[in-house]
């Protein structure tokens, strides 16, 4: 599988929304993959290179985020992101 564009929706579960801590983790995670990862909410699309832009999405608990992954390792990246959202849903971060 190479170069495919994958996308999936996730719901923000953390009590405090998509705040600095999970965003930091997501930016760190995204850096491990070659694929380009973008996140959109209500039509606003941002990359995962900027903590600031992700914060400005202002995603709260219950909001739906659409993650789009483009690149050679897109499947692995999406799996990792899915695991990330599952984990932050359980943790109290």
């Amino acid at each position: 599988m190479s170069g495919s564009v994958l996308s999936k929706q996730f719901t923000v579960e953390g009590e405090n929304g998509f705040h600095l801590r999970p965003i930091t983790l997501l930016v760190q995670l995204s850096g491990k993959f070659d694929s380009t990862i973008t996140i959109s909410k209500d039509g606003n699309q941002v990359g995962t290179g900027s903590v600031m832009e992700l914060l400005l999405l202002g995603a709260q608990k219950g909001d739906v985020l659409e993650v789009t992954v483009t690149g050679a390792d897109s499947a692995d990246a999406l799996n990792a992101i899915e695991a990330f959202f599952k984990e932050t849903a359980q943790g109290n971060d």
């Binding site: 405090n16 929304g17 705040h19 965003i23 900027s50 600031m52 400005l56 202002g58």
Partner: protein
């Protein structure tokens, strides 16, 4: 600093007075200096050098944050250090960095100016986000932006340990590490932009008798290091760059107060006895064991309230039994032959501890605080009770439970006390079997059933601050309802009378340890009600004693009869003012100067 700003002279600034006294001195700002950003137009050939400078500032910021992260991880643990991961991410934010570099190039402006514009725009955008938790990240962004800016300018923060000249310290907040570096030699007084009566720095200020004002929002934008400043810690007033007349007025006040203190202190060794021979017991409220030394040197009274919160606040670990025992034992030994009343942990409400996961209450004053918290956390409660019990072997120690609202709560607390005794017995650890147990009367329900509660305790201590706030349903920290916080309200006078009568009926003793005890206005009324023990901040004892020595108990009791017929707090206050003005004519004018 070279780029100090010009501010208007004789500028009045207000905050919350947390430690009284007047000081006139030179301001010394600690923490990050306020920074005025200048716009500089660059020549095209300077642009790349400017971008280089920006890169270096970013690198320096990353290095500092990594060092800080390592230090915090070592001292406080990995979890607390994680905040710096977010800060490191923000410093490395490629969107911000790219935009700053692009605009330095396209607009030929200096890095400070462009960086400030870019971060400001993001900060403004973030302040529009509806989620308050995310909005609060603004503080992190400002923190990081300040750091980068300081590195760009090559100006580093001043810390208290570097202040050698006696100064009035001005800061956004005084950190626990700065508080530890506070001495009477370098700190004449202090003013902070944030904070409360119960923050660590406020406690220290009161204990060291240093005038202090907190919550003076905007102070950092109104003063420069080196400016002359007057701080009035009683009224929470600050005057920046006072004119000659103002300074003269405050000097007169200062002199007059000092004179007055000398008169008051001349009577220090005399008993607090009324003209007609009734003796009142005065005692001190303390927050730190070190304060006992001052009490011994001056008034030689007992400790009517030892607040134990200082052991728990501004720290990461819950204090061990050994650490608490050491603190309680020290006070018990130092205050002997007088006694000390140790109040068990009163946390929650407006007092929080960093480590204890306090439940988030909509209304903390009506939520899980004080005894409610302790009853939910037997581990913390029993540890404290064991430490207090062990201290009884070294002096006269009494224990007191705060915020009792029902008989069941008292009974549960007593079960824990018994459990702690049993544990010590089993371990063969020494303590006094006969320890007096009392409760704070600060919830109206407890005041009303005082006749029932009196059968199960050795003493009452009335905490009027909370009693007033709960009775009139008014938070005194909220300026919109602070006028309803009325210690002189007829309901309060009646509750006090009921509690005093109930205690007398059962032959139990009762003291009053709220701020009413140190307000000369209410002292005659309190004595007249039959409350003969008053516990207050050490620096109020002289004035209260001087007043008591001029009162006739017979008149004080008549004052109570009159107050019982009043409709409003104002009527009660008028009566009390008349009484004090007749008894000690120079007292109220002096205190209000």
């Amino acid at each position: 600093m070279t780029d100090s700003q010009t501010f208007p002279d004789n500028l009045n600034i207000t905050g919350i007075g947390v430690s009284r006294g007047i000081v006139i001195g030179q301001a010394q700002i600690i923490g990050r200096p306020t920074q005025e950003i200048h716009e500089v137009v660059l020549e095209p050939d300077q642009v790349e050098k400017e971008i280089d400078r920006f890169n270096q500032a970013l690198k320096a910021s990353v290095d500092q944050l990594e060092e800080l992260r390592g230090r915090v991880a070592k001292i406080l643990g990995e979890k607390d250090a994680r905040i710096f991961d977010g800060h490191l991410m923000l410093v490395a934010d490629e969107v911000i960095i790219d935009e700053v570099k692009r605009r330095i190039r396209s607009e030929c402006r200096n890095a400070e100016f462009v960086f400030n514009e870019v971060t400001d725009r993001y900060a403004r955008a973030l302040s529009q986000v509806s989620d308050s938790y995310i909005r609060d990240r603004l503080a992190d962004i400002r923190d990081v932006a300040d750091r980068v800016m300081s590195n760009l300018r090559g100006v580093m923060p001043v810390t208290l340990d570097k202040v050698t000249e006696p100064s009035v310290i001005i800061a956004y907040d005084i950190s626990p590490s700065d508080t530890a570096a506070m001495t009477r030699e370098n700190v004449l007084g202090f003013v902070t932009a944030v904070g409360s009566r119960t923050s660590h720095s406020a406690i220290m200020a009161r204990s060291m008798n240093i005038p202090a004002v907190v919550g003076a929002t905007g102070i950092l934008n109104q003063i420069n290091t080196g400016d002359q400043i007057i701080v009035d810690g009683l009224r929470g007033r600050i005057i920046a760059r006072p004119d000659g007349r103002t300074i003269e007025r405050y000097r007169r006040r200062l002199r007059s107060q000092q004179e007055w203190w000398r008169i008051v202190e001349a009577e220090m060794a005399l008993p607090a006895e009324t003209v007609d021979g009734y003796r009142a017991q005065l005692a001190a409220n303390i927050e730190l064991p070190e304060e006992v030394e001052l009490i011994r040197q001056s008034y030689g009274v007992g400790v009517g309230l030892f607040r134990t919160e200082y052991l728990f606040i501004d720290r990461e670990e819950i204090p061990t039994e050994a650490e608490q025992y050491e603190a309680y034992r020290q006070v018990a030994e130092d205050i002997f032959p007088h006694s000390v009343i140790i109040r068990t942990l009163d946390i929650g409400g407006d007092k929080f501890m960093t480590k204890l996961q306090m439940p988030i209450d909509m209304n903390p004053f009506l939520g899980v605080r004080a005894i409610r918290f302790c009853l939910q956390r037997p581990d913390i409660f029993i540890t404290q009770l064991r430490a207090i019990l062990r201290a009884t072997a070294h002096g006269k120690v009494r224990v007191m439970f705060p915020m009792i609202a029902t008989v069941e709560e008292l009974q549960k607390a007593l079960v824990f006390l018994e459990a702690a005794k049993t544990e010590l017995d089993e371990e063969g650890i020494e303590y006094s079997k006969r320890i007096d147990v009392g409760i704070m009367i600060e919830v109206p329900s407890a005041a009303i059933i005082a006749d029932r509660l009196a059968k199960q305790v050795d003493f009452f201590s009335i905490g009027t601050n909370d009693l007033v706030q709960y009775s009139l349903a008014a938070d005194r920290g909220n300026p919109d309802v602070a006028n309803l916080y009325q210690p002189g309200h007829p309901s309060i006078i009646r509750l006090l009378k009921h509690v005093a009568d109930a205690a007398a009926q059962e032959g139990k003793w009762v003291s009053l340890c709220g701020e009413m005890a140190s307000d000369p206005l209410f002292v005659p009324l309190i004595l007249g009600l039959g409350i003969h023990e008053l516990s207050m901040g050490i620096h109020s004892i002289g004035i209260v004693k001087r007043l008591i020595r001029r009162i006739r108990m017979y008149d004080a009791e008549k004052l109570v009869d009159q107050a019982m017929t009043c409709d409003t707090a104002q009527e009660v206050i008028n009566l009390c003012e008349g009484f004090v003005a007749r008894t000690v004519p120079d007292l109220l004018p002096k205190l209000r100067m």
